[in-house]
């Protein structure tokens, strides 16, 4: 998923340990890869970003949906919802690193400063808050119903979760581990991001993004983008926010400062998660196909890459700190 990724990665403390890579010099530098969670195929596709070809598939149990990156950038956790398991991968190579049992990890996210792992169990109607390091369960919070996407406040004081079936957003105080408010957002909320001191919520049962006040959950305004608004992805340049519209089959580019729609791209196949490549292109999974679309926002051209059935989450190794990607560099510089 694409929420607050930069916040996770730019946390300096989290990256301090990135220097001590095992046998780094012996490993040839690897190409940049994309990891794609094939939700109806029980596998993770490993794609060579340069050649745009799938290199191989790593099996998981049942139904991988989303991922989160550990604060040290060494482990990519992939949630297998129906398999009730968390799978670990090396985010630089896609090598499998093992798994552990976890109840219905549909959506998962580690907080910006790396202290907690929040897991939303879409089917089982609860939100689990784990200690990120030891992965011990601190608190299970009942969340009726269908908790789906997650966003943190940058100071890590709060976590916000969309409740798809209730048409609401739940705010949880991470110090007290208790819900603070649950407020209506608009029908079937899916994607949620923290932007500029506000929450942006994609209302999939409607055609807009709701801007909410994180303090009390009041809806401040509604920005119409397209039918079936599903995902919200702020571009790393801080200039544009992309919104995927599931039913309309479009992708809307919003001006990050004004939240006014600036441009619209046609994108069929049920656009879902979005990842940003260093060259400015968007890598977008298409749920109702077997492809990832690489969209060039400058020209609007789309390049498909074949993966498994119903691709959902997507991770690009290019977001890893240079130290983690290039073994040679890792030996010289311990911090980024």
């Amino acid at each position: 998923m694409d929420l607050s990724r930069r916040a996770v990665l730019t946390s300096g403390a989290a990256l301090a340990a990135a220097g001590a890579l095992p046998a780094a010099a012996a490993v040839a530098p690897v190409a940049e890869i994309a990891l794609v969670m094939n939700s109806a195929d029980a596998s993770v596709s490993v794609i060579d970003m340069a050649t745009r070809r799938e290199i191989r598939r790593e099996p998981v149990l049942r139904e991988p949906h989303h991922w989160t990156l550990s604060p040290d950038g060494r482990t990519l956790l992939v949630g297998d919802a129906a398999g009730n398991a968390l799978f670990s991968f090396d985010p630089a190579t896609g090598a499998p690193l093992g798994h552990q049992v976890c109840a219905d990890p549909y959506q998962l996210w580690i907080s910006p400063r790396g202290s907690v792992l929040v897991v939303a169990a879409l089917r089982l109607d609860h939100i689990d808050i784990y200690d990120a390091a030891g992965r011990t369960l601190k608190k299970r919070i009942a969340a009726r119903s269908m908790p789906s996407h997650i966003a943190f406040s940058p100071d890590e004081a709060m976590v916000f979760v969309t409740l798809q079936r209730s048409g609401a957003v739940m705010a949880i105080d991470l110090a007290r581990l208790a819900p603070v408010w649950t407020q209506p957002s608009g029908p079937t909320p899916a994607g949620i991001v923290w932007h500029d001191g506000r929450l942006l919520v994609a209302c999939m049962g409607s055609d807009h993004v709701a801007e909410m006040d994180p303090a009390d959950g009041r809806v401040l305004r509604r920005i119409v983008t397209g039918k079936g608004t599903h995902i919200i992805a702020p571009a790393p340049d801080g200039d544009t926010i992309y919104v995927g519209n599931r039913v309309g089959g479009t992708l809307t580019a919003l001006d990050a400062a004004t939240l006014k729609p600036r441009q619209s791209f046609t994108l069929s196949g049920g656009p879902d998660c979005i990842a940003f490549a260093p060259d400015g292109k968007l890598w977008i999974t298409r749920r109702f196909t077997t492809t990832v679309a690489v969209l060039d926002p400058a020209s609007g051209s789309v390049e498909p890459i074949t993966v498994g059935r119903s691709p959902h989450g997507i991770f690009l190794s290019s977001v890893l700190p240079a130290a983690r990607r290039d073994p040679a560099a890792a030996l010289g510089t311990a911090s980024v």
């Binding site: 109806a40 195929d41 029980a42 596998s43 099996p59 149990l61 049942r62 139904e63 129906a82 398999g83 009730n84 398991a85 499998p96 798994h99 049992v101 976890c102 109840a103 219905d104 169990a121 089917r123 089982l124 109607d125 609860h126 299970r140 269908m146 798809q164 079936r165 029908p187 079937t188 999939m204 049962g205 039918k227 079936g228 599931r246 039913v247 089959g249 069929s268 196949g269 049920g270 749920r287 109702f288 196909t289 077997t290 492809t291 074949t306 059935r309 119903s310």
Partner: protein
């Protein structure tokens, strides 16, 4: 390479299901609707593939010839309802909810339902091998469910709908009472809680298994030979199970895909060969009635089965 069945399911989802859910204000079910679209399209492929193979077989080497084939038409309806349409919908929405509620309850009490691959770690990372083990275990569970549905009096009253057909063809595999189907789904669900059951991860393998089940009902003089019959269930082997003398308690050959369970538990009869199928004690409504007449007839027979006077064999 793109999978054409998946392309059709994707089209169904985008052109019909999503706009419908959007209009109904039910977008939270969009994931499930795609699951159903996949299930329905693969189901349609199963039916088409089975038809393409079994139809010529039944023409080439029929066991029986009938003056009119009206009773077969109802079986065609059963097949379409269960493999393409309504039953998968009920399974995906209704049954899903029950299973989720129960799993949630267990998770809240500290028990996460396992999967076979976590119970038997070497299977993890070998999805095809895992699938084969699942197929064998589920086939074994299916054997016991089927055997019990012959031995338990009220259950047999329901299952006798499957046996009532005197014009048994490859369409007859899904000819079941809805209540019997529901029990089968619960049986399956209980196993899913114990070992986890893979969803449509291997549509082609599932297609082959379901094809074998349909084929075993075909009105075709087909045997797999001495060894083949002991590896996979043939039309000859399953026809013996449907023979008029085998209806009820003392039947043989209960297996669905593998004959091994019958061989292990002493219910296999490789010598038996039946020509005529049916259940002589079944009321006519179960034999030649339409879909709903059969459903009502099954319930009536079940209600009557509580009285000791009912025909039991």
């Amino acid at each position: 390479m793109t999978d054409p069945a998946l392309a059709v399911a994707g089209w169904l989802q985008q052109a019909l299901l999503l706009p419908l859910l959007y209009r109904l204000g039910a977008m939270q079910w969009e994931d499930l609707s795609f699951g159903w679209a996949l299930f329905a399209v693969y189901g349609l492929v199963q039916v088409a593939a089975t038809f393409a193979v079994c139809m010529p077989l039944e023409h080439w080497r029929p066991v029986e010839r009938w003056p009119d084939r009206r009773a077969v038409a109802t079986d065609m309806l059963y097949t379409l309802v269960s493999r393409v349409g309504i039953l998968p919908l009920v399974t995906f929405v209704g049954f899903y909810q029950v299973q989720v509620a129960f799993t949630g309850y267990l998770a809240d009490h500290g028990w996460v339902p396992p999967t076979l691959e976590l119970l038997v770690p070497p299977l993890l990372g070998h999805p095809v091998a895992a699938f084969v083990v699942y197929a064998v275990l589920l086939d074994g569970a299916e054997y016991w469910r089927h055997l019990l549905s012959h031995r338990v009096r009220w259950w047999w009253a329901l299952h006798s709908l499957h046996h009532a057909q005197r014009q048994m063809t490859f369409w007859s595999d899904d000819r079941n009472h809805l209540l019997d189907d529901l029990i089968a789904a619960l049986w399956f669900g209980a196993i899913a809680l114990l070992i986890g059951v893979p969803p449509l991860q291997f549509p082609m393998l599932v297609l082959v298994l379901r094809f074998l089940e349909s084929l075993s009902h075909a009105n075709a003089r087909v045997s797999f030979g001495w060894l083949g019959e002991r590896l996979l269930i043939s039309p000859r082997f399953h026809r013996a199970h449907h023979g008029v003398w085998a209806a009820g308690r003392r039947s043989c050959n209960y297996g669905a895909i593998l004959p091994w369970w019958d061989m292990i538990f002493g219910t296999a009869d490789f010598a038996a060969s039946a020509v005529h199928t049916g259940d002589p004690s079944a009321p006519e409504a179960l034999v030649s009635g339409g879909y709903w007449a059969q459903q009502a007839g099954g319930l009536r027979r079940m209600a009557g089965s509580r009285r000791p006077a009912v025909t039991q064999r």
